[in-house]
């Protein structure tokens, strides 16, 4: 089974495969077509090199002061823990909410294009505008709290934003379409004769889903989990707008160091730690997928 596109971060990290050059039979004069690729690669590798330089090389030469700071300060531990927890919750919430939507899109080929537009249309609106939309709905004087108060369910507003819950809601909303598309792309590859075969062997609709469709769609679910997890790990705008002032995520901390404190060394150190944690999370996801999805499929 062909696998859907991996999240960009994992692709960029690997160097170009050497055998690709030998495989092409294009005339040598077309070599200049490689130029854009090399340019992008040079910029990418250059900025990574710069990142490492800043992280280890401060004003007074080689230094590990910011690494030590991260290891020692409990409030920084809390920031990283919050970042990983929120990213994990967002990834799982997106996958769980996206699956029925993707399933519905797959089951209704006539409506698929229309429904897909509805899923994707939020992307036409700027991230900042969409996030401000949540303020209107979830704020202390927002639609939801006012409605619940009017209905007499609550006396005082429930804090739905300016805390971790707000960040989870905002990020899940923004990232869920990725999970829908990742899951749908795998569902669409399932041969519908497999369902007929299952049915002819006595299985009903739910049984067929549980025994055939679900296991075959798991690779798409895992791709969705990877994309949403990695994107949430580096989130900046949503936590700034919907998160608590003191409840920072790693992304907002880096943003603050770069934009307000001009401390490139600290920002770079944080970025490297964030990258390591993301890589760790991705490795765990891969391991879970390997355990759940049989080899022949992958």
């Amino acid at each position: 089974m062909r696998r859907p596109v991996r999240p960009p971060s994992s692709r960029q990290a690997s160097p170009p495969a050497p055998d690709m050059r030998g495989a092409t039979s294009a005339p040598r004069s077309l070599g200049w077509l490689l130029l854009p690729v090399l340019l992008v690669l040079a910029l990418f590798l250059g900025s990574v090199a710069l990142l490492f330089f800043h992280a280890f090389w401060g004003k007074d030469g080689f230094s590990l002061v910011y690494f030590r700071q991260i290891l020692e300060r409990a409030d920084y531990h809390e920031v990283f823990l919050r970042t990983v927890s929120i990213a994990a919750i967002v990834a799982v919430a997106s996958a769980v909410l996206a699956y029925p939507i993707a399933w519905l899109l797959w089951r209704l080929p006539r409506w698929r294009n229309l429904l897909l537009v509805i899923v994707l249309v939020p992307w036409l609106v700027s991230l900042v505008v969409r996030t401000y939309g949540w303020l209107v709905i979830l704020g202390p004087k927002g639609f939801l709290n006012e409605t619940l108060k009017w209905a007499g369910v609550i006396q005082s507003p429930v804090p739905l934003i300016f805390n971790d819950l707000g960040v989870v809601i905002g990020l899940t909303h923004v990232l869920m379409p990725f999970a829908v598309i990742a899951t749908l792309s795998v569902l669409l590859q399932i041969d519908n004769r497999l369902e007929e075969a299952s049915e002819s062997l006595g299985a009903g609709g739910f049984e067929t889903w549980r025994r055939v469709v679900l296991p075959l769609s798991l690779p798409g679910v895992f791709t969705g989990l990877s994309i949403t997890f990695l994107t949430s790990m580096g989130a900046i705008v949503t936590p700034i707008l919907l998160g608590g002032i003191r409840q920072k995520m790693a992304g907002t901390q880096i943003y603050q160091e770069v934009v307000y404190n001009f401390n490139m060394s600290k920002a770079s150190t944080w970025a490297i730690c964030l990258l390591l944690l993301s890589g760790l999370g991705l490795a765990l996801l891969r391991a879970a997928e390997a355990a759940l999805v049989p080899k022949a499929d992958r």
Binding site: E196, S200, L201
Partner: protein, 361 residues
């Protein structure tokens, strides 16, 4: 009547405005090997899917062992199905594929293990239990698909061109095995194919279909020797067709004029109702055309050999005669075949019992 009989009455099926099946009546005996044979688009696969229950007929009824299948979902019909692309579950190994139906049914684990090993043994795949589907060859996948659909011991097995993707040699081998398995289990097999040799080799009964209609139902021998229409005659093997016109009739024979030659054909060769002046087609199989023998057969004339083709053990001789082109087929090791050469003129004859006369309607 044994288990697994199918009775199809007045079946019609439309997709939108296209009529795919029209007024199909068919009775299939329990325990027999029946082939639905026809060119692509003739409705044979649609008929199979109607029996399976994946489609509902627009008209008519299907009954299995006397019970109407109207509104019965596929999973409650007493049948198994082997799909054209096999549709094996790629995430399960061979054992799990074969065990699928038994597990769905909730059979105890010991029963499942016993049945899986019995049916894998039957298809010659004992020891392959833990192989993954992706590791199997085309023929092995075929066997797994067969074992999977047989594991529930259905009264009827539907097979939708399952061998079409295999190379010729493997196909021949699996045909022999398929037939022997069918004989052992006495399950009704309904097999869809467009390959007339496959149909002839496998079937007790062949159902020739074309354009959504059943053209003829009969044993392979009857279909070959007494085709009910020029379409069937052409579809189940090579045949020489000569266009002619009926010139006179009497109680024993019909006189036909072909290319201004009078040929007398016995009434027993007749398909359709003859009348003087009607157009007709005189047909004979290439292997009935005799060369170089002086005989007083119904058809006897001189013709020039325009081509010789060696086909395995046989020799195909293309002749150009006064009636138009004719093809003769004979065993290549018959002594006088060595005398044949392109450009030579030979005497050909066709015995009257080998002729079929189709009267145009």
């Amino acid at each position: 009547m044994s288990r697994g009989s199918i009775s199809i009455t007045g079946i019609g099926k439309e997709f939108g405005t296209a009529t795919v099946l029209d007024q199909v009546d068919l009775a299939i005996d329990g325990g027999s090997f029946v082939t639905l044979l026809g060119p692509s688009g003739c409705g044979k696969t649609t008929l199979l899917r109607l029996i399976a229950g994946f489609l509902e007929p627009s008209r008519g009824t299907i009954a299995i062992d006397g019970a109407s299948m109207q509104g019965v979902p596929p999973r409650h019909r007493p049948l198994g199905m082997v799909f054209q692309n096999l549709a094996l579950f790629p995430h399960l190994d061979v054992f799990e594929n074969v065990a699928y139906g038994l597990k769905v049914r909730g059979a105890p684990a010991t029963d499942i293990a016993g049945k899986v090993s019995r049916f894998l043994g039957l298809v010659g795949l004992a020891g392959f239990e833990r192989r993954r589907i992706g590791q199997l060859s085309g023929g092995q996948k075929q066997r797994v698909a067969l074992a999977r659909s047989l594991a529930l011991e259905p009264a009827i097995l539907l097979l939708d061109e399952p061998l079409s993707a295999l190379d010729l040699q493997l196909r021949r081998q699996l045909q022999v095995e398929l037939k022997s398995i069918q004989r052992q289990l006495a399950t009704t097999f309904v097999f869809v194919t467009h390959d007339q040799e496959e149909a002839t080799m496998l079937s007790d009964t062949i159902v020739v279909m074309n354009g959504g209609h059943v053209q003829q139902v009969g044993t392979p021998d009857a279909i070959y020797r007494r085709p009910a229409s020029p379409f069937v005659a052409r579809f189940v093997g090579d045949i020489n067709m000569l266009e002619g016109r009926i010139t006179s009739l009497d109680t024993a024979s019909v006189s036909v004029s072909v290319a201004e030659r009078q040929i007398s054909v016995p009434r027993s060769a007749l398909v359709g109702t003859p009348s003087v002046g009607k157009a007709c087609q005189l047909a004979c199989r290439p292997e009935s055309v005799r060369l170089g023998e002086a005989a007083d057969d119904a058809l006897s004339l001189d013709a020039r050999i325009s081509a010789l083709h060696r086909l395995g053990p046989t020799m195909k001789v293309v002749l150009q005669g006064p009636l138009g082109p004719l093809t003769a087929l004979m065993m290549a090791d018959v002594p006088h075949v060595a005398d044949l050469a392109e450009g030579k003129t030979v005497r050909l004859s066709v015995p009257s019992h080998s002729l079929t006369l189709f009267v145009s309607t």
